[in-house]
């Protein structure tokens, strides 16, 4: 019970600035300093969300599906590429520059091209999610493999371990913490990429809903959907953290604690 109260206090403390902004914003609307059609009040935004709830859920389904398929492919791709690039220096040297360059192209520039090439359905969205989502995971994994103490590898080799066994027993498990750090960034990218891609052309998805309400100047709905997307991102990130915590306690570092240090948690 006391713990619960503490949690509530902690929550209030952490989100006090956000709550303050919301209160101020509601105040602006109530005092009619800004007209409702320029800046709808938080209350109006919530009403709009409730009113359009089933429609929003319909679109959410597609966006999440695109993000999910895209992320699955991105994770697989990142693992395969990371293993190949770590194992064969040649592949690392040859693949690293094009991968970096691919990340410097703005997504809003690629998305319309993908739509022209791949149509208005899900494919171009999934492709964009893969393109933005695999990179943070790949880099995190490569860093993870490299952070392994070379003496550990030496020890395993002295035991007669094969290349695969050094990955299986040392490099991969040692990189789990890095992987989840990368995944956390990736999932929020994935959602944004899917929405941007839908925004630029499609039949369904939160991006499509967004363009429609924008064209109707329904700013209350616009705000509702912006907040909803942020909320979804947060949920996804929390999901990643939860997965990390349950799968691999040792490498899980609670938020706010800097660095990768296992000792402090294990000793609890």
């Amino acid at each position: 019970m006391k713990k619960k109260l503490q949690n509530i206090i902690k929550f209030g403390y952490q989100y006090s600035v956000i709550l303050l902004i919301l209160a101020f914003w509601q105040g602006l609307a109530m005092t009619k300093i800004l007209p409702e059609f320029i800046l709808p009040s938080p209350a109006a935004v919530i009403m709009a969300f409730i009113k359009d709830f089933s429609l929003i859920m319909y679109h959410t389904k597609y966006t999440l599906l695109e993000a999910f398929i895209g992320m699955s492919i991105a994770i697989t791709l990142a693992f395969i590429l990371s293993l190949l690039m770590d194992r064969f220096q040649v592949l690392y040297d040859v693949l690293y520059p094009p991968i970096i360059i691919s990340q410097t192209i703005p997504t809003v520039a690629i998305a319309p091209l993908l739509i022209i090439w791949l149509g208005f359905y899900m494919t171009p969205k999934v492709v964009l999610v893969v393109m933005t989502g695999f990179f943070p995971i790949l880099i995190a994994l490569l860093d993870g493999y490299r952070a392994v103490d070379p003496d550990s590898i030496k020890l395993l080799r002295s035991m007669g371990a094969s290349q695969w066994q050094t990955y299986r027993h040392v490099k991969l498990p040692a990189s789990i913490g890095y992987f989840f750090a990368g995944l956390r960034v990736s999932v929020s990218y994935a959602l944004i990429s899917a929405v941007v891609s839908e925004w630029l052309g499609g039949y369904y998805g939160l991006g499509v809903y967004m363009t429609r309400v924008r064209k109707a100047f329904a700013l209350d709905k616009m705000f509702a959907i912006i907040f909803f997307i942020s909320f979804l991102s947060l949920i996804l990130m929390a999901g990643v953290d939860y997965l990390h915590k349950t799968l691999n306690r040792q490498s899980y570092v609670p938020r706010g604690v800097k660095g990768f240090k296992t000792e402090s948690i294990r000793k609890k």
Binding site: S152, S158, M159, G160, A161, H169, A174, N248, Q250, T262
Partner: protein
């Protein structure tokens, strides 16, 4: 026939073939012996070990283990380093069982094989803990158990106790001799600590010079346990130091 024999080992690294690191190293270790190599840091001791462990192929010479040529082959002798290198994401039991898993045993088999040794190595109760929860001395003991379970014939210990504090070190020395008597492990030991070498070994080789050459072995025929403050040990220390410095 000696257990381990190095015959005329010479080595230079491939990226600097003109700089010879080791020159004509000959040494042997008999069954059940503890033999030390002492020498200055960066003097080629670890290179000798890498060659024996099969991690490096020497430019010339051969490594023989129990009548078999193992030059350049890994997986025949176990190897322990200064760092314990216990994997933080595996329990102590799984860490210790790892060499057997690498050799192709199933996880279950390897665990069953490792469990009975925990008592002997003074590690009961740590089986399902993670290495971070162990003290420095315990970690080294676990690392030694892993070394032993990897290969019971021959172990290479590369300054295994040099990272420990003085008191832990003293304790672990007597523990180490005890356990060695029980498991009868043939050991080649590297250290830069002359006293440690005298306390633990049956014979000592000195590796010195550039390129490094090896001395004749010096027999340490003192009764055990050896007291670091006793006259004999101090005398032996003087003798070795003189030898060590006479280049």
């Amino acid at each position: 026939m000696p257990k381990l024999e190095l015959r005329n080992i010479s080595h230079a690294f491939a990226d600097a073939p003109d700089i010879q690191i080791l020159k004509d190293i000959n040494l042997y270790v008999d069954e059940g012996e503890i033999v030390s190599i002492i020498g200055p840091s960066g003097g080629g001791k670890t290179t000798v070990f890498n060659i024996v462990a099969g991690l490096l192929e020497p430019t010339a010479g051969e490594v023989w283990l129990a009548g078999e040529d193992i030059t350049g082959k890994s997986g025949y002798v176990s190897y322990m380093l200064q760092k314990d290198l216990l994997l933080p994401f595996k329990t102590v039991l799984d860490n210790v069982a790892l060499p057997q898993i690498i050799k192709g045993k199933s996880k279950k088999e390897a665990r069953t094989m490792a469990l009975p040794y925990f008592r002997e190595f003074g590690l009961d109760g740590t089986e399902y803990k993670y290495p971070q929860m162990l003290s420095g001395g315990m970690k080294q003991r676990a690392a030694l158990l892993r070394t032993y379970l990897f290969e019971k014939e021959m172990a290479l210990l590369d300054e295994p106790f040099s990272a420990l504090d003085a008191i832990t070190k003293e304790g672990i020395h007597s523990w180490y001799l005890d356990i060695m008597k029980k498991i009868n492990l043939t050991t080649l030991f590297i250290t830069h600590d002359i006293e440690e070498a005298i306390l633990l070994s049956d014979r000592i080789y000195i590796l010195k010079g550039r390129p490094a050459e090896i001395s004749e072995s010096i027999l340490i025929d003192l009764s055990r346990p050896r007291d670091p403050l006793s006259e004999e040990v101090i005398q032996m220390k003087r003798k070795l130091k003189a030898e060590y410095l006479s280049i």
